[in-house]
């Protein structure tokens, strides 16, 4: 995009408020801007400037927990498979091809001979084994070690029951052939492998800075980092930006257009302002208040994409009357989800009447329930609270955020107006919120889940009885039995059927009240081409190109 277009964009931004001041000043705007902004220099140099929304904590693929971290790690390291952004199917990455045994438990991966680490060493099967051993080491204390548990013996090794990594189902047949044995078939296994937990690390680099299972060494510093991904770590200035540079020795270097990417840790409103003043090519997410403006005035920069996540209320079923499924379902049926997403997100997020979000190739959401005020009131009076009479005072807990607050206020008002319930709100900062949901010290709590891999099971399993992510006190034997069946079923049709049954049971029992499905709403400069995010946050920067508009 050239200078002309940029000025027209800028004045388009400047006009809407119509305040006197702006009218006086717009005239000056065109002439006084900085000579070349970052968007323009980025296009010239093929450097992508992108807002990553937060300061990342670490770049260690085996200990990071957040998506912002994953977004950078995905540029620096590569796993056995990648995600094809077209259809979300597993695509070759560090492995050029693979074979699966007839019973679906043994996978053989053939690694590329031409793939190297950024220091020139070849990427070998042993490097992957080293990575698996590292993340499963009890002392590394990785929160996401469970991602490897489908592998035979992985769980036992992680929990210290076996100490010899040789007993774990992974071995190097030769330098470039890797065999992984699962303890039972997992239909989505190949997709799992694109997650950062399965990435290899460079053994010599790790060991040069500490033990294999020491999570606090400095190998992730730019001066030490060795990766096998399409980009190399150039600079990591906390609070400012992370710079990655094109890796000329990457096996697929010919496909990379970008010379580099800079990740910035800006809060959404700050990011939006930076985007408007030409400092960013992409900022994600858009502050909700600005959605209608961009959607209506600048649709060419306003983007929405699927995102594998659900926003819901948790109900503490150990507290009466929330122990009564009728009360819980009544609360769920009384919420006008369309109104909530219309009011807060300008209707840009899909209302949720089921739990598993869209994005799974062969499992589309189907409404399990339908909001129904009459039925909600009926259920409530059956439970002994006609028109909300006698309903105890309860609180809706949420962690500090304008968005959560607004959503909770709408729900509060709907329950007050339509069911006669007087609930109050309770705002808690993040750590307090976590503490209280963990200890079940709440009544109703705002919540969300973002899938780690594209499988409905990842969502449904959070509500397994007694599970650490359940946090509602809800346990249901039928539900847990269904979960077990899902794990053991290889036939995709039958598996889908079990998933649907489990989801239906869950949403009708209503320990959770789904409100809407997340999606990504972000601003993207028209110069950015081939930007294809995936619903699970995996990103490939390989094909991205910055094109000057004619």
């Amino acid at each position: 995009m050239g200078a002309m277009t940029n000025h027209s964009l800028r004045s388009a931004f400047a006009s809407p408020t119509g305040s006197v001041l702006s009218l006086c000043l717009i005239g000056l705007a065109a002439g006084c801007g900085p000579s070349e902004n970052r968007v323009e220099s980025g296009i010239r140099e093929q450097v992508l400037h992108i807002n990553n929304a937060t300061d990342i904590r670490s770049l260690d693929p085996h200990t990071v927990t957040g998506l912002p971290e994953f977004h950078v790690v995905a540029a620096l390291l590569e796993g056995l498979t990648a995600v094809d952004p077209e259809d979300m199917s597993p695509a070759p990455a560090a492995a050029r091809e693979w074979e699966v045994s007839g019973d679906g438990t043994v996978y053989t991966f053939y690694l590329r001979e031409d793939a190297t680490w950024s220091n020139g060493d070849p990427v070998t099967a042993r490097d992957f084994l080293f990575g698996f051993e590292r993340i499963l080491s009890p002392n590394l204390a990785s929160q996401y070690a469970y991602m490897l548990f489908p592998m035979k013996g992985a769980r036992a090794f992680n929990e210290g029951e076996i100490e010899d990594f040789g007993e774990v189902g992974a071995r190097a047949i030769d330098d470039h052939t890797l065999e992984i044995t699962l303890h039972q078939p997992v239909p989505t296994f190949l997709s799992l492998l694109s997650h950062n937990t399965w990435y290899p690390v460079h053994p010599d680099t790790i060991l040069a800075h500490g033990a294999i299972d020491d999570p606090h060494t400095r190998w992730i510093r730019p001066e030490n980092f060795v990766g096998n991904g399409p980009f190399t770590l150039e600079r990591w200035a906390t609070g400012r930006r992370i710079e990655v540079k094109r890796n000329p020795d990457y096996w697929d270097a010919g496909r990379i257009h970008l010379n580099g990417t800079h990740f910035y840790p800006l809060d959404p409103p700050v990011g939006e302002r930076a985007f408007r003043s030409g400092q960013l090519h992409i900022t994600d997410p858009v502050p909700p208040e600005r959605i209608p403006y961009y959607r209506d005035q600048l649709p060419e920069v306003f983007m929405t994409d699927d995102f594998f996540g659900t926003y819901y209320f948790r109900l503490n079923v150990t507290v009466p009357p929330l122990d009564d499924p009728r009360v819980r379902l009544a609360l769920s049926l009384a919420l006008d989800r369309e109104m909530i997403v219309d009011n807060i997100y300008g209707g840009e997020r899909p209302a949720a009447y089921s739990f598993v979000p869209p994005g799974v190739p062969d499992y589309e959401p189907e409404p399990v329930i339908e909001p129904d005020l009459d039925r909600a009131r009926e259920l409530l009076s059956e439970a002994g609270y006609p028109s909300g009479e006698g309903f105890p005072s309860m609180r809706i807990l949420y962690n500090t955020s304008d968005e959560h607050s607004a959503i909770a206020q709408l729900a509060q008002e709907m329950w007050r107006r339509d069911l006669g319930l007087n609930l109050s709100l309770e705002n808690a900062e993040w750590q307090v919120y976590l503490d209280r949901t963990n200890r079940l010290e709440y009544h109703i709590a705002r919540s969300g889940w973002i899938g780690d891999y594209l499988d409905p099971y990842n969502f449904l399993n959070t509500m397994a009885g007694g599970g650490g992510n359940n946090r509602t006190g809800w346990a249901n034997d039928d539900y847990d039995a269904l979960l077990n069946e899902i794990v053991g079923t290889r036939d995709t049709g039958a598996r889908r059927q079990r998933i649907r049954e489990a989801e239906t049971l869950l949403v009708n029992e209503a320990p959770v009240i789904p409100l809407f499905f997340y999606n990504r709403m972000y601003l993207k400069h028209p110069a950015v081409q081939n930007w294809r995010p995936t619903p699970i946050g995996y990103r490939t920067y390989k094909d991205v190109r910055l094109a000057a508009e004619e």
Partner: protein, 305 residues
């Protein structure tokens, strides 16, 4: 004077000790911990993480070993950023906050003293109320309104400055204004008050009676004693400029220590919070000392006691 400074330093030590002790135990009483996460962490994993940082030992032992390290200048590892130490984080971010604070102070002094002096040229006229009213905008608009407002006008509409960042000289202007105007208002009022008092005194009356131009009298004779009250305010102000820059750092996205500190408090990064508290407390004590010395130097009648 050297003895005075040495004594003040010695007095500062118990103050710092009390501050550290109070904050150490207060922080530990707060709900949540540095390793709480939204996903479930197995108890064994959590225990290992806590053991790594020695959080499994009795609280009092943790306290004494923290003090021991502190004396040697080691503020410990950050709990939130796994491979970074508090010393490193402070080293990375403090210079930026210092620079921001310095620019803010400059704005505060220039605008504040300027407005205060101008207002005394003709007290109780529009020349008095206008600059005073203007200076007061700083204390009547919270910084989180003033900041985005300045960005809206000067970077989004006018395009004069970048909306965020801390790279070019121009990036300093809006944050310094946002930060400085708040303190400018106080300094303006204190200067006005100080000048007003001085003007009533005999030597100024004499000078005016002799027919010297009022502006000249103000600048030459009244200014120095007149800004004394403002100077006394500089101690707390400088401290506030440093530690209070959180909002400005957030609005303009400046990688300073204020942001790190507030985030650390929310993340329960115990060591980082404590480290910054110690640092800020030490700096406040230092500033107060400097201000006291400055007051004596400006006011011959006062002595070091």
């Amino acid at each position: 004077m050297l003895i005075y400074i040495a004594r003040r330093f010695l007095e500062a030590l118990p103050v710092l000790f009390l501050v550290v002790t109070a904050c150490f135990f207060l922080l530990r009483l707060a709900p949540g911990g540095p390793f709480s996460a939204e996903v479930d962490i197995p108890a064994a994993t959590l225990a290992r993480m806590e053991a790594h940082y020695g959080l499994d030992r009795p609280l009092f032992l943790q306290y004494t070993s923290y003090l021991g390290n502190l004396v040697q200048g080691d503020l410990g590892p950050s709990y939130h950023y796994p491979t970074r130490t508090v010393n490193e984080i402070i080293r990375d971010h403090l210079p930026i906050s210092l620079e921001l604070g310095l620019w803010g102070l400059l704005v505060a002094l220039l605008v504040g003293i300027g407005a205060g002096v101008v207002s005394m040229v003709r007290p109780d006229s529009w020349l008095d109320s206008l600059p005073m009213g203007g200076a007061m905008i700083g204390i009547c608009l919270p910084t989180f309104v003033l900041g985005p407002l300045l960005v809206l006008v000067f970077s989004l509409w006018l395009g004069w400055f970048n909306a965020t960042g801390w790279n070019t000289a121009g990036d300093r202007v809006l944050p310094a204004l946002t930060l400085g105007l708040f303190y400018a208002a106080y300094i303006a009022r204190l200067t006005r008050g100080g000048m007003r008092e001085v003007i009533g005194q005999d030597f100024i009356r004499t000078a005016l009676a002799k027919g010297l131009p009022r502006g000249k009298v103000l600048a030459k004779h009244a200014l120095r004693p007149g800004i004394l009250p403002a100077l006394a305010f500089l101690g707390p102000a400088a401290a506030g400029l440093l530690s209070g820059s959180f909002v400005v750092e957030t609005v303009f996205h400046i990688p300073g220590l204020g942001r790190e500190f507030v985030n650390a408090a929310f993340n329960r990064d115990y060591t980082l919070v404590l480290g910054v508290v110690v640092l800020f407390a030490a700096m406040i004590l230092l500033f107060n000392l400097l201000v006291d010395i400055g007051q004596v130097l400006l006011n011959p009648r006062q002595r070091f006691e």
